[in-house]
Symmetry: C2
Subunit: 209 residues, 2 copies
């Protein structure tokens, strides 16, 4: 996943190689930037982390980070290797008739997880989230800044962020039960059956009806 | 499923080695039986595993397994170091007015997780479930045979087992979001606030109303 070398001061127990020396090859430079980004995001949080700081930690020019990734959010998603575009959640789920938001979310979640290459990557994220404090910190930043803050404004009523996170928790829990723990019958239940049960849960969390 | 010398996952202090030689001390014998039990349950599943097989794998007499633990279920719970008595779920949650089952389950779950020593152990189980196939297999057996099959008969309507597992998945997801990922505001939300939101979710899964 990332480079070896000496452990750096504060960050958690992961070989989060934060080297300062420049690397020659392009693939190496990109990997170097991503390793530095994981360290920065985990340590400072998404809001406090900067492209400049990531560049410094990677020993490259900030322009190179922009060149490779474009924006801080793009660096972040690449650092997490997150396989779903969060904008798609907003576009396909939040936009549209509020009465159908729960079912749209359930359908979106199942469709994403049922795609083998997406599932594989999401599972890797979930597994390392459970075992690595650095990955848990990254995932926390992701959930809050990329998902919750973007979806909550579209959610009416009090406790909007909390309720978005409860929907998120049901997504994570379904993934754990169906794909990680693999408990039957949920593990091999038909996606449409799951949509029928999960849709109303999401609907109530997101619209309180 | 797992090799005797395989390195165990980081979190729990769990030597999953399946040794066959007898151990002298009593503490060692008990630990030996539990290590053998983890292997047997993970490999054969709860139903197929036997006290006799566990004793054989541990190199002890079956009577000794009964002496230490009493029953297969007790061996299993001890092997998982599961900190909550599953009978309590049935007693405190399933029994009683069906109209209150969702709220009772939410309250039971929060009360369990908020007790530090219970939380610590549940987190260890959750973390190792995500990283170790053996622990995932144990947890799967636990969920199905100890929880789902015991609760489902009390749940009316079709897909009873599936719906019990969806409630289970919301419990696991809440634990992931609140305690593992630690996403705010759910991480520090007041338990009663969570009960108010989670209760209706459990209620609908368990009674379809």
């Amino acid at each position: 996943m990332n480079a070896p070398s000496a452990p750096t001061p504060p960050p958690p127990p992961q070989p989060s190689g934060r080297r300062t020396g420049r690397r020659p090859g392009r693939a190496d430079t990109r990997a170097e930037i991503l390793a530095a980004a994981r360290g920065e995001f985990a340590e400072r949080g998404y809001e406090q982390a900067t492209v400049r700081g990531i560049a410094r930690a990677a020993g490259v020019d900030p322009a190179l980070v922009h060149h490779y990734f474009g924006s801080k959010e793009r660096v972040f998603l690449a650092a997490m290797e997150f396989p779903v575009d969060p904008s798609a959640v907003v576009e396909h789920v939040v936009a549209g008739d509020p009465a159908g938001i729960g079912e749209r979310l359930a359908r979106f979640v199942l469709a994403s997880w049922e795609a083998p290459e997406v599932r594989e990557r999401l599972l890797a994220i979930l597994r390392s989230t459970a075992s690595s404090p650095e990955m848990a910190a990254l995932f926390r930043e992701f959930a809050v800044t990329i998902l919750v803050r973007r979806v909550a404004p579209a959610v009416p009523g009090p406790d909007a962020e909390l309720r978005v996170e409860l929907a998120f928790s049901q997504v994570v829990g379904l993934a754990m039960a169906r794909y990680v723990i693999g408990v039957e019958p949920v593990a091999s239940a038909d996606p449409e059956t799951l949509v029928a049960y999960l849709g109303p849960t999401f609907q109530r969390y997101l619209t309180q009806t």
